[in-house]
């Protein structure tokens, strides 16, 4: 970025939008003057730096995690006792719909996108992603989509059709508020973030690897996230179609899912799950990737069977396309379809099992270090396996027919999503925090965080297996004493346990939030290589410089950083240290590239992304508003198209002394 061209940041930028912007009509058709600030809020708002965008993804996702978590607590409070009075039926519907929507689309996906944004360029030895401005645009779309979805809370009620929004619940008869309109349009906008992000990261991984880093030398996190991006690339357009059809039905009088008009409501279910099942792997694979990074580091061993982990990840991505109808076994698909999809579903357990074996054998015989990150990683292996096994019971169609729409399903997907995805993300927090912020998260609080989460999660979701097999349907806003049953398996007792568990879980999350604050206030800097890590992202300062690497490393090994620190002793065949992390880094600094050109910040991603929610509101309320939004979009595209990726010298207020392409020895 500009900062590298000009060591002293420019100070006197006219504030935007507070002060009227300076205009350089000669160059940009009257477009706004380029932002060049590298500090302060403007440096975040207009940034194209993958690390800042990654952090913004993470912070926003964390906020939505808290929102979604509070929604979950309200649900559990409602169900703690018979005939709960915390929420009424209508509000309860909104609560579980928005809890799922928030957790899936506004927490796990963007949190994984945040990690991917931050760490993929670092792991492959690149200075930024392939399309930095599109990257920024993606983040603002995600934020805009999240706001639109949640805006409905204040404008007549949120979406209330369940997160997979089956017809006829999604129709105006059963959901007369605007909630589902906000939901569909908000997801549409958030989908743009996923689609552009997918294209961006795939091109980045294909094209911007450091010299020598062949595909089979890439870290596993990068590999699995790349698989995820392919899933998103092909799955997002399917949900786009479904959401458009839904919007056209609700806003423009089409009848795509209206049985009275002769429609097949199963069409929605197919479109939703053709997207929805790959989406499941979109949620879990990034966490698998994080765990595959964490386990070797804290086992002091290389990952067992790297090619198997990579190829089983790709296999999951591939087979994941052929199993969507197992979400629809109870919908009357017909015996042939059910049999085909049932077998395919059993098959997909195989590559997942391969991973579990790889992770276990990675730890086998290793010198295990139980840091908080490692605890979460091991927690994932155990909890995900439980969820995976209950998942296999659904693949058997007759058994699934019993379980459909009961709490057993809820138990299953919380074990894989919370015990899997969320635990993986938490392992990522503790592992990468020093890299992102230069400080280690407190391990004592981390331990409390972990144990409360493990106990809370098992107390909450474990009993749901029993509740489900006892026949408690999901999405019922009340249960009655009279039907609670008796003995050990009475649902009154287990509902109470689950609700208490959710409070324990909340405490666990609270310890994490306290940990963030405590760490932020702490003055202790993290060491350069706190975990004795293996991959390239650790081969730079904490936090990394704006241009990531002083010189782009030449890669010769998988786990390049490790191999620069250690060499095999030819006599004893053990690894011995040959260089410290500081020495490796100093070596890179000595060979620093004299010319580093980073893309400059831009207004246009933000302006473009602002136009989309305006259009969405226009679709719901008034065509005029939509037209205004359309003009904002057109204006932004116009400015964007005419803007060079790197700012020209005239955009800097302090005139440059030696022209645009200043070389620098700084950094």
């Amino acid at each position: 970025m500009a900062i590298i061209e000009r060591p002293t940041p420019v100070l006197d930028i006219p504030a935007l939008p507070a002060a009227p912007p300076a205009i350089t009509p000669s160059r940009t058709f009257g477009a706004l003057k380029r932002p060049v600030a590298s500090t302060g809020w403007k440096s975040w708002l207009f940034t194209v730096d993958h690390k800042k965008i990654g952090l913004m993804y993470g912070a926003t996702a964390l906020f939505f995690f808290i929102v979604g978590g509070l929604e979950a607590v309200l649900i559990r409070l409602q169900l703690a006792a018979p005939e709960g009075k915390v929420l009424n039926a209508d509000l309860y519907n909104q609560m579980f719909t928005m809890h799922a929507t928030t957790m899936v689309f506004l927490f796990v996906m963007p949190m994984a996108a945040g990690f991917a944004n931050y760490f993929i360029p670092l792991q492959i030895g690149a200075r930024d992603v392939a399309f930095p401005r599109i990257n920024a645009f993606g983040f603002w779309c995600f934020l805009g989509g999240g706001i639109v979805i949640n805006l409905a809370w204040f404008l007549g009620g949120a979406a209330d059709g369940g997160w997979f929004m089956y017809a006829p619940n999604s129709g105006p008869v059963f959901s007369p508020s605007n909630g589902i309109d906000f939901w569909a349009l908000g997801l549409q906008i958030a989908g743009i973030a996923s689609l552009t992000g997918a294209i961006n990261l795939i091109v980045t991984v294909l094209n911007m690897r450091a010299p020598g880093m062949s595909l089979m030398k890439m870290p596993v996190f990068t590999w699995l996230v790349t698989v995820v991006q392919f899933l998103l690339l092909f799955a997002i357009p399917v949900i786009t179609v479904a959401l458009f059809l839904l919007t056209f039905q609700r806003s423009f009088g089409a009848q795509f899912f209206d049985v009275a008009a002769g429609a097949d409501p199963l069409l929605w279910q197919h479109l939703f799950w053709i997207f929805g099942h790959p989406e499941v792997y979109v949620l879990i694979l990034p966490s698998f990737g994080i765990v595959s990074e964490v386990l070797p580091v804290f086992s002091r061993k290389p990952l067992f069977g790297y090619p198997f982990v990579v190829f089983s990840g790709a296999a999951i991505g591939f087979v994941g396309w052929g199993v969507w109808a197992h979400h629809m076994f109870a919908s009357g698909l017909g015996p042939v379809s059910v049999a085909v999809f049932s077998v395919a579903t059993m098959a997909i357990a195989v590559p997942t099992g391969v991973k579990i074996i790889n992770w276990t054998l990675t730890m086998w015989g290793g010198k295990l270090v139980f840091s908080t990150a490692m605890k979460f990683a091991v927690g994932l292996i155990l909890l995900f396996t439980i969820g995976g096994l209950s998942g296999v019971t659904h693949s058997v169609a007759p058994s699934d027919t019993q379980q459909t729409d009961t709490y057993y399903i809820v138990a299953h997907f919380h074990y894989v999503l919370f015990g899997g995805s969320v635990f993986g993300l938490f392992a990522g927090f503790y592992y990468w925090w020093p890299k992102m912020f230069g400080k280690l998260l407190n391990e004592r609080l981390g331990s409390l965080n972990f144990w409360f989460m493990v106990i809370g999660m098992n107390l909450t979701f474990g009993p749901m297996h029993i509740l489900g097999l006892q026949g408690q349907p999901r999405r019922m806003y009340q249960w009655t004493e009279a039907r609670a049953g008796e003995g050990f398996f009475n649902i009154a007792f287990w509902n109470l346990v689950a609700s208490i568990g959710s409070l324990v879980l909340t405490l666990g999350i609270l310890f994490f939030l306290i940990n963030i604050v405590v760490t932020a206030r702490s003055k202790v800097r993290a060491p350069l290589d706190p975990w004795n890590a293996r991959s390239l992202e650790w081969m730079t300062s904490n936090p990394p410089k704006e241009h990531n690497f002083d010189s782009i490393p030449k890669v010769e090994h998988l786990d390049e950083f490790f191999h620069r620190k250690y060499e095999e002793d030819p006599v004893t065949h053990t690894m011995r240290g040959v260089a410290t992390a500081e020495q490796v880094l100093a070596e890179l600094e000595r060979n620093a590239d004299p010319h580093i050109h980073m893309p400059s910040p831009s207004y246009w991603p933000l302006v473009l992304a602002v136009g989309l929610p305006v259009i969405a509101l226009g679709v719901i309320y008034s065509t005029m508003v939509a037209i205004v939004g359309g003009f904002i979009v057109l204006y932004a595209i116009y400015g964007w198209a005419l803007e060079p990726a790197t700012a020209v010298a005239s955009d800097f207020d302090t005139p440059s002394t030696n022209g645009h392409a200043v070389s620098t020895t700084h950094g």
Binding site: L206, S214, L215, L266, H270
Partner: protein, 106 residues
């Protein structure tokens, strides 16, 4: 990787040449002729060949535009992989979904 790079650059330069203007016009003429044939099925009874011939002509036109006008034939194989994987995936999932509606039995 090195071989891939060399191959990539090689194909990239070859693609600069692409096809001659004459070649493009010939392709366009063939496409126009197939289109005329397609439209003729509306007037002339093709009998049992009606559906298969239309599908075949559609695929031929599709592949011709993709291969020649979009240069996939001359370009790096990666582009073909990316595009055709999306296309085949689309055909696969949607044909499967339509089959569950017994669409092809009607």
């Amino acid at each position: 990787m090195t071989t891939e790079t060399i191959e990539g650059t090689h194909l990239e330069t070859e693609q600069e040449h692409g096809m001659s203007t004459r070649g493009y016009i010939v392709v366009a003429l063939i496409l126009a002729a197939i289109t005329a044939l397609e439209v003729s099925t509306y007037y002339v009874d093709f009998g049992p060949l009606f559906l298969p011939s239309l599908i075949v002509m559609m695929v031929v036109k599709f592949v011709m535009v993709v291969s020649f006008f979009m240069h996939l034939r001359f370009d790096n194989k990666i582009f073909s992989w990316l595009f055709y994987s999306g296309l085949l995936l689309a055909v696969g999932v949607y044909v499967a979904a339509l089959s569950t509606f017994h669409f092809f039995l009607r």
